[in-house]
């Protein structure tokens, strides 16, 4: 038996290792799906920010009363909830790419990636809760 592998001599894969091999094969497919998912997220972020920009320009003012009255409308609150959820996902993925490209030390990279994911999740949850509180809560005095 030669040490050099040829294409005709596949690695001896034990029966219990097969799921791991299948997962590795699927990872190649997942990278493509991830790429597509990122683009879809970007397109959604674009559409929702066009909505937000148009909505803000159309608002008669930016005082508390005007803003809360606007966010109480279903067709303002729902796009805003979507915008928060999608934008913070888009934002986290973008920051993750930047860290992956520029932070090379394993420990520091792990710390930055964890910080981005936790902070983005917290900020998104806080923003979602605040939109819901404004939209559904009793009229603030």
């Amino acid at each position: 038996m030669t040490e050099a592998r040829t294409d005709k001599a596949p690695l001896p894969v034990a029966a219990e290792a097969a799921p791991a091999a299948a997962a590795a094969a699927a990872a190649g497919h997942e990278a493509g799906a991830h790429w597509g998912h990122e683009r879809l997220l970007s397109a959604a972020t674009f559409a929702l920010f066009v909505w937000l920009a148009v909505s803000l320009v159309r608002l008669p003012g930016f005082d508390h009363g005007t803003v809360t009255l606007w966010l109480r409308q279903p067709l303002a609150a729902v796009p805003m909830l979507l915008l928060v959820a999608i934008t913070f996902k888009h934002l986290a993925l973008g920051l993750i790419v930047v860290v992956e490209d520029y932070v090379h030390e394993a420990g520091a990279r792990l710390a930055w990636l964890a910080l981005i994911k936790f902070a983005a999740a917290f900020a998104a949850a806080l923003a979602l809760f605040c939109v819901l509180k404004t939209a559904l809560g009793a009229s603030a005095g």
């Binding site: 674009f46 920010f49 508390h64 966010l71 934002l91 973008g94 900020a123 923003a127 605040c130 404004t134």
Partner: protein, 133 residues
């Protein structure tokens, strides 16, 4: 030694020429990071202040209308337009179009100039038409 200037330079480690496509690439990242960190924080603060009530909102509005905050607003709006336009350029390139050098350079410059133009138009609208009315 003469070089055909219409041919690209090979990006060999340290031998490369700065071009608009590189500028836009790095601008996309810088504006993205800026929007994420500064824009994200201001956006959540705004929604939080609105949810908390009149007093909390007045505190936010006080900071938002501070004269030096204008630098942040103008900066964020420019970053928004730049990231949006270079993002759209990425969509075009993702489908495999716009890689020919002259086309690529043209649209790289176009995103930079259009972003500055849109920022100027937005603030002209806000400062002259909106506030004067």
């Amino acid at each position: 030694m003469t070089r055909n200037p219409s041919r690209p330079l090979s990006p060999h480690l340290t031998i490369w020429k700065w071009g608009p496509h590189m500028a836009v690439s790095i601008l996309h990242r810088i504006t993205g990071a800026g929007l994420a960190l500064v824009g994200g924080a201001v956006f959540v603060w705004w929604l939080y202040a609105a949810a908390q009530g009149v007093e909390s909102y007045a505190y936010f509005a006080g900071w938002a209308t501070w004269k030096w905050a204008l630098i942040v607003w103008i900066g964020l709006s420019w970053a928004f337009f730049q990231h949006l336009l270079s993002g759209l350029r990425h969509f075009v390139m993702d489908v495999g179009a716009g890689y020919a050098l002259p086309v690529n350079k043209f649209w790289a410059w176009a995103t930079i100039i259009l972003a500055l133009l849109l920022t100027a138009l937005l603030w002209a609208y806000i400062l002259y038409w909106r506030l004067a009315a």
